[in-house]
Symmetry: C2
Subunit: 669 residues, 2 copies
C-alpha cells in the first residue's frame, strides 16, 4: 500500500467532508458537523490502520469500527463508499435519510452491510465496543495457538462529548479498564460543542483523567483538523499498548471548513444550506461539484479493496492450516461462525413431573444454564453483581473472564446493568456465534432498557435473565418489586418475554431463547418456588400460550395464568370443577409467541364466544385486555408493592385461591 502525500490526504479528507455536506444538504436533514470535524481521524484510521475487506464486510477477522456518535453517520457512509463497499454507492449517499435507503439517519446494522453496530442513542456504541473487544479477547484465548493468531483484530471507536457524558459509557469504560482490553482503541472527538452550545455549559470535567482513573492509556492530539501524522502516531502508539484500552482525545473543530458555522452548535444537526456549502467549498479550496469525488481520492482509499482481499486471503490460508493442525478446534470455530448450534445442545435440558420438587424458576434457570453449559461452548454471560441471587453461574465451572483468564466465559459486570446490556449487544454484534446472556433483578431492566431496545431493534439474540419478577420479591419492597416491568417489556417490538410457570416451561423458555438468534429474550423468573404442572412441557412453550387444563365441551370460564400465579389458576379450576363449573386453564408463558400462532390455533385456545376470562398475573394489568376484552376480569396489580415477606405480599395483594374463586364466581353469576 502506498502512503498518501499530504496533499492527497487533504483531498481524501475533504472528499469525506463534502460528501457529508452535500448529502445533508440534499436531504435537508442531518448532522454535517461531526463528519466535517472527524474526517481527518476517520480517514487516518481507515486509510492507514483499519484491517478490513470492503468486498466482504463480514470477513471474520476484520477490525471492528464503531461510530458511537451515530448522528455523524455520513462520516461512516462516506468511508464505506470511498473505500469501496458495495452497500453504499454514490446513489445511496444521494438518498441519505430517505425511505428505503441504505443510508438511514443513524447507522443501523440491519440496513447497511459494513455497519458494525446500530448507534444513535449516545453512549451505546462505545459500550457495544467493549463487548466486541471482550468477544475478540475471549475467542482469541479460546482458539488461538502459539503458532496461530486466528482471532486477532482491533476494535476502534469514534466517540464524542455526548458519549462521554452518558452513564452507560462510564460504566462500560470502567469495566474495560478493569479487564485491560488492550485492543480497544477509542478516538474521542473533542470539539467543545453540544446541542445546547459550548460544552462549558455542562461538561467541564477532565475526560482523560477520568479514563486514566479507569486504567486506560490516554493521549491527546491537539490539532485534529489537519495533523494527520499526529493522529497516525497516536493510533500506532495505542496499538502498541496491549495491556490497557486506549483513548485518544483529538481536538477538532465541529463543521471544520464552514466559514460561518464551524465551531457552533448550528452545524451539529442542521444542513449548511447551499450558500454556506459554496463558501465551504471556497474555504477548503474544493473545486468539485456536489457528490463529486476526485478520482485520486477514490484511488487512494480504494486501495483498501486489494489490501482487504489480501488480508482475508492470508487469513484464509491461516485457517486452512489451522484446520489440519487443530481439526477439533477448527470444527468448533467454524460451526460457531456459521451460527449453527451443536446437534446435542439441548439434550440435557431437564423436564419435570408434579412429583419433582417445586422450585423457584430462577433456580430452574440455573439448572438450565448448568445443563446447557457443557454442550454449548458459545454460551457466555454473567450478572450485574447479583450472581448468587440471579443464579446465573454455570454450575460446574469456576473462574471468570478477567485480564488474566479471558478464556473463561463468566462475566462479572459489576453493578452496571446498562453497560451489561450494551456489552451483551456488543458480543452479539461480533457475529461469531457467541450467545450472550446477562442477569439482574427484573425491576432493574429499567436501568438497561435503552440497550434492551437496541437488542430488539438490531435483532440480537441476547438473553436477559431477570429474576425476582414480582411482589414475590418480598422484603426488599417496592423499589425492588416489578409491577409494570413485564408489560413494559411486552410492549417492545421483537422482544420475547417469557414468564415460565414451572420447570418445564423454564426449560422451554431457554430452548426458545437459545434458538432465537435474531430476537432477544427476557426471561422473567421468580424468587419463590412453585409446583410443577402435570400438563406443561418444554415443547408447548413454543406456542406461547396453550391449554394446560381443560373441561369437557365448551368452557364457561377461561383462567389465564403465567409464572408464579399459574398454579393458582390450576387450583382454582379444580375447585370450580368440583362446583360443577366448566373451566379451562390457559398457560401463557410468552404472549409474543402466542400472537404468532395461526388464527385457528388462537381461536382454539381462546374461543371468541367464551368471553368470561380472568387473567392472573402479579404484574400491572396493562396489555391483558387483548385477551380478557371488555367482559373479562383480572387479578393483577394496579399500584406499587410493599415491603413484607413475599408470601404476605402475595396474600395482601389478592393472589390467593380464595380471591381467584371469588372473582370467578362473580364473573360467572
Amino acid at each position: 500500500m502506498v502512503a498518501a502525500p499530504a496533499s492527497l490526504d487533504k483531498l481524501c479528507i475533504n472528499s469525506i467532508r463534502m460528501l457529508a455536506v452535500d448529502a445533508v444538504n440534499k436531504s435537508k436533514s442531518g448532522h454535517p458537523g461531526l463528519p466535517m470535524g472527524c474526517a481527518p481521524m476517520g480517514y487516518t484510521l481507515w486509510d492507514k490502520f483499519l484491517n478490513h475487506n470492503p468486498k466482504n464486510p463480514k470477513w471474520f477477522n476484520r477490525d471492528r469500527f464503531v461510530l458511537s456518535a451515530g448522528h455523524g453517520c455520513m462520516l461512516l457512509y462516506a468511508l464505506l463508499h470511498l473505500t469501496g463497499y458495495e452497500s453504499v454507492t454514490i446513489e445511496d449517499i444521494k438518498q441519505f435519510r430517505q425511505w428505503g435507503a441504505r443510508t438511514p439517519g443513524h447507522p443501523e446494522t440491519f440496513e447497511t452491510p459494513g455497519v458494525e453496530v446500530t448507534a444513535g442513542p449516545l453512549g451505546a456504541g462505545i459500550s457495544n465496543a467493549v463487548g466486541l473487544a471482550i468477544a475478540e479477547s475471549h475467542l482469541a484465548a479460546k482458539f488461538n495457538k502459539p503458532d496461530f493468531s486466528l482471532v486477532d483484530h482491533f476494535t476502534y471507536v469514534i466517540m464524542g462529548d455526548g458519549c462521554n457524558q452518558e452513564g452507560v459509557a462510564s460504566e462500560a469504560c470502567s469495566l474495560a479498564g478493569h479487564l485491560k482490553l488492550g485492543k480497544l482503541i477509542a478516538l474521542y472527538d473533542d470539539n467543545h460543542i453540544t446541542i445546547d452550545g459550548k460544552t462549558d455549559v455542562s461538561f467541564t470535567e477532565d475526560v482523560l483523567k477520568r479514563y486514566e482513573s479507569y486504567g486506560w492509556h490516554v493521549q491527546h492530539v491537539s490539532d485534529g483538523n489537519t495533523d494527520v501524522d499526529a493522529i497516525a502516531k497516536a493510533i500506532q502508539q495505542a496499538k502498541e499498548v496491549t495491556d490497557k484500552p486506549s483513548i485518544i482525545k483529538i481536538t477538532t473543530t465541529i463543521g471544520y471548513g464552514s466559514p460561518n458555522k464551524s465551531d457552533t452548535a448550528g452545524v451539529h444537526g442542521a444542513p449548511l444550506g447551499e450558500e454556506e456549502a459554496e463558501l465551504t467549498r471556497q474555504a477548503l479550496g474544493w473545486s468539485y461539484g456536489p457528490f463529486e469525488v476526485p478520482q485520486e481520492a477514490y484511488d487512494q482509499l480504494r486501495q483498501a479493496i486489494d489490501k482487504g482481499a489480501k488480508s482475508e486471503a492470508v487469513w484464509n490460508e491461516l485457517l486452512e492450516s489451522y484446520r489440519s493442525k487443530y481439526p477439533d478446534e477448527s470444527i468448533e470455530f467454524e460451526r460457531m461462525l456459521r451460527g449453527e448450534l451443536p446437534s446435542n445442545w439441548d439434550q440435557s435440558l431437564p423436564s419435570y413431573t408434579p412429583e419433582d420438587k417445586g422450585l423457584a424458576t430462577r433456580k430452574h434457570s440455573q439448572i438450565c444454564l448448568g445443563a446447557l453449559g457443557p454442550n454449548l461452548p458459545e454460551l457466555i454471560g454473567g450478572s450485574a453483581d447479583l450472581t448468587h441471587s440471579n443464579y446465573t453461574d454455570i454450575q460446574g465451572e469456576t473462574g471468570s473472564f478477567q485480564a488474566e483468564s479471558p478464556e473463561k466465559r463468566y462475566l462479572h459486570f459489576g453493578v452496571r446493568e446498562h453497560a451489561m446490556a450494551a456489552i451483551l449487544n456488543g458480543i452479539a454484534y461480533h457475529g461469531s456465534g457467541l450467545i450472550p446472556y446477562g442477569g439482574t433483578f427484573l425491576v432493574f431492566a429499567d436501568y438497561m432498557r435503552g440497550s434492551m431496545r437496541l437488542s430488539a431493534l438490531s435483532e440480537l439474540g441476547v438473553i436477559y435473565v431477570l429474576t425476582h419478577d414480582s411482589i414475590g420479591v418480598g422484603e426488599d419492597g417496592p423499589t425492588h418489586q416489578p409491577i409494570e416491568t413485564i408489560p413494559s417489556l411486552r410492549a417492545m417490538p421483537n422482544m420475547l418475554v417469557f414468564r415460565p410457570g414451572d420447570g418445564n416451561e423454564t426449560s422451554g423458555a431457554y430452548k426458545l431463547a437459545i434458538q432465537n438468534r435474531t430476537r432477544p429474550s427476557a426471561l422473567c423468573l421468580s424468587r419463590q418456588g412453585m409446583p410443577n404442572q402435570e400438563n406443561s412441557s418444554i415443547e408447548k412453550v413454543s406456542f406461547g400460550g396453550y391449554v394446560l387444563e381443560d373441561c369437557e365441551g365448551t368452557p364457561e370460564l377461561i383462567l389465564i395464568g403465567t409464572g408464579s400465579e399459574l398454579y393458582l389458576c390450576v387450583d382454582a379450576a379444580k375447585e370450580l370443577t368440583k362446583q360443577g363449573r366448566k373451566v379451562r386453564v390457559v398457560s401463557m408463558p410468552c404472549v409474543e409467541l402466542f400472537e404468532e400462532q395461526s388464527s385457528s390455533y388462537k381461536e382454539e385456545v381462546l374461543p371468541s364466544d367464551v368471553r368470561k376470562r380472568i387473567v392472573v398475573e402479579a404484574a400491572e394489568t396493562f396489555g391483558w385486555h387483548k385477551y380478557i376484552g371488555l367482559d373479562g376480569d383480572s387479578i393483577t396489580m394496579s399500584g406499587f408493592g410493599a415491603s413484607a415477606p413475599g408470601g404476605t405480599c402475595m396474600e395482601k395483594f389478592g393472589f390467593t385461591l380464595e380471591n381467584v374463586l371469588n372473582t370467578a364466581n362473580n364473573l360467572l353469576t
Copy 2:
C-alpha cells in the same frame, strides 16, 4: 452539646451495629453488613455535624442526609431512632421489613418521616443529592440577603461501591463538579465487597481520581472502622471547601465486628444468624440483649433533640426578622414552602381556535412554559442537551443555573438523561415548592426510566417534557422513534401520561401537570404540526378522555385518537358522516385520568354496547384493548419505524385518512 469521649463514641457506634444485627436477624432478611461497617461514619456525621430537628423532620433548613446505599437502611433507621425521631421507635425496628411497618426493606420517603429520598436502586440517592444541593443553592441565591442566610444547609450522602459503579451517579457527579456544588458532601463506604465477592472481580478503578477529574475535592480516611476523629476531621474539611463538592473515601470493613462473616459478601445481604450475632456481641464487647440500647448511647445521641429544637428556633427567629425586613420575598418563600401555587399561575396559559395556526405540540409546550414562567417562580428545569429541539427554554429569560449564577432556573443537564431525572427527583424531594421539569426525546425516556419510576413511586410531581413522540420524528430513524415508549409509560403506576392533540390540550396538560404535585407527568409531544380542534379545551383534558365530535343518537362507531393522530379521527368522522355513518370521536389525552372518572362518565363516553371502536395512535397497540376490546380495531404500530421524512413515515405506516376510512368501513360492514 457535649462531645463524647472515645468510649462513648464506641458505645453509640456499637448500638447502631447491634440494632442492625438484631433487626435483620429478627426479620430473617436484610443487609447487616453496611450498617456494621458504616456505623462510625454514620454516628460521626449525625452526632457531630448533622443540623436537624428530630421532632420536626420537615424543618426546612435542616441538613439533608441521603443513604444512597439504601439496602443498608438499618443504619438510617438506627440513627433516626437513636437521635429521637418518633417515626422509628424500637417497636418499628423490631418490625423491620414487615407488612405495614415504617421500616421497609429500603428507605421510602412516603413510609418514614426523616427519610429524605427513596433509595434502593443504586446510584439514585447520590444523584438525588445533586438535585437537593441544586435546590439549596438556587433558593439560597434567590432568597438569601447579605444579612440573612435563610437557606443554608448541607447535603450529606453515604454511598457505596455499587453507587459508584452505576452510570447515573457518574453523570450526576460530573454535573455536580461542573456546577461546583460546595455544600454537597459524599462519604464513600469503601469496603471492597460487592455481592459477587471482592470488588476486584469487576471494579478496580481509582475512584477518587475519577472524582478529581469531575472537579470534586477528595479525601481518604484509611481507618473508617474506629477512627472517629479522622472521619470528623475530614467532614470538617469538606465543609470548609465551598467551591467544590466533596467526597471522602472511608475505608471500612463490611460487617465489622462479626468474627466469621466480616469482610465477606456473605454479610452483605443475609442475617448473621443467632450464633454469629452472639460471637459478634463477644467480639464487640457488647453485653446488651437484642434491641437493647444502653441509656448512655441514647443520652448522647438524643442531645440532637435539644440541639435541633434550638437550631430551628434560631432559624424561626431569623425568618421572623426576614419577614419584616423583606416582606415580599418572605411571602413568596413561605408560599413556596407551603406548596401553594400563586393565585394567578395559570392565567396566561393560552387557548386556541381552529383559526389559530396549527403548531407542533412541542411548540405549544414552549409557549406554555413561556406563559407559566413569569407567574410561577418555582418552575425550574431544563433539558438533557436538547434545548432547541425540546423547546424547554422559558422564553424571555436568559442565562442558566451555573456556579456563578445559581439564581437562574434553567438547567443544562448535558447529555445525561438518567441524571436529569434523578436530579429532578432530588429537587422535588427538597420539599421547598420547586416544580422541576426536564426535557429529552421521548425515546430516551428509556435511559431515565429507573428514575422516572422513582418519581412515580415516591409521589414526586416532576414534569417530563418528552418531545419527538412518534415516527413523526422522521429522518433520525428507528433509534429515535418511540414505538413502545408511550405504552410502557402508561403501564407505570402513578405516572400521568399526556399526549395532547392540539394547543388547548397542551395547555390543559400543563395545567394538570403543574397541579399534580404528588404525581409525575410525562408530556408526550410531537415534532410536527397539527391543526387546532373546534371542541377541545383546557378543561376537558382533566377528564382524560372526552367526546370531541359526536353524531346524533347512539354512534355506530367510535374513533379514539390522541396527539398528532387526533385530527385524522376528526377528518375521518366528517367523511364517514357524509357517507351516512354515525360516528363519535373521543380524544384521549390522558388514559390515567380517564380511568379515574366515574363509571357513569366513562359509560357515557364509551357506551358498553358500542363495540365498534378504532384507536388511532402512532405507537404500539399495547394497552389499547382496554377500550377497543375483542371487537374493535386499531391503527397503531406493531414494529419499529424507519428513517425517512416524518410525513413519509406517517403515510407508509398507515396514518392516513384513507386507511382510517378503510378500517372503519371494514369494521362497519
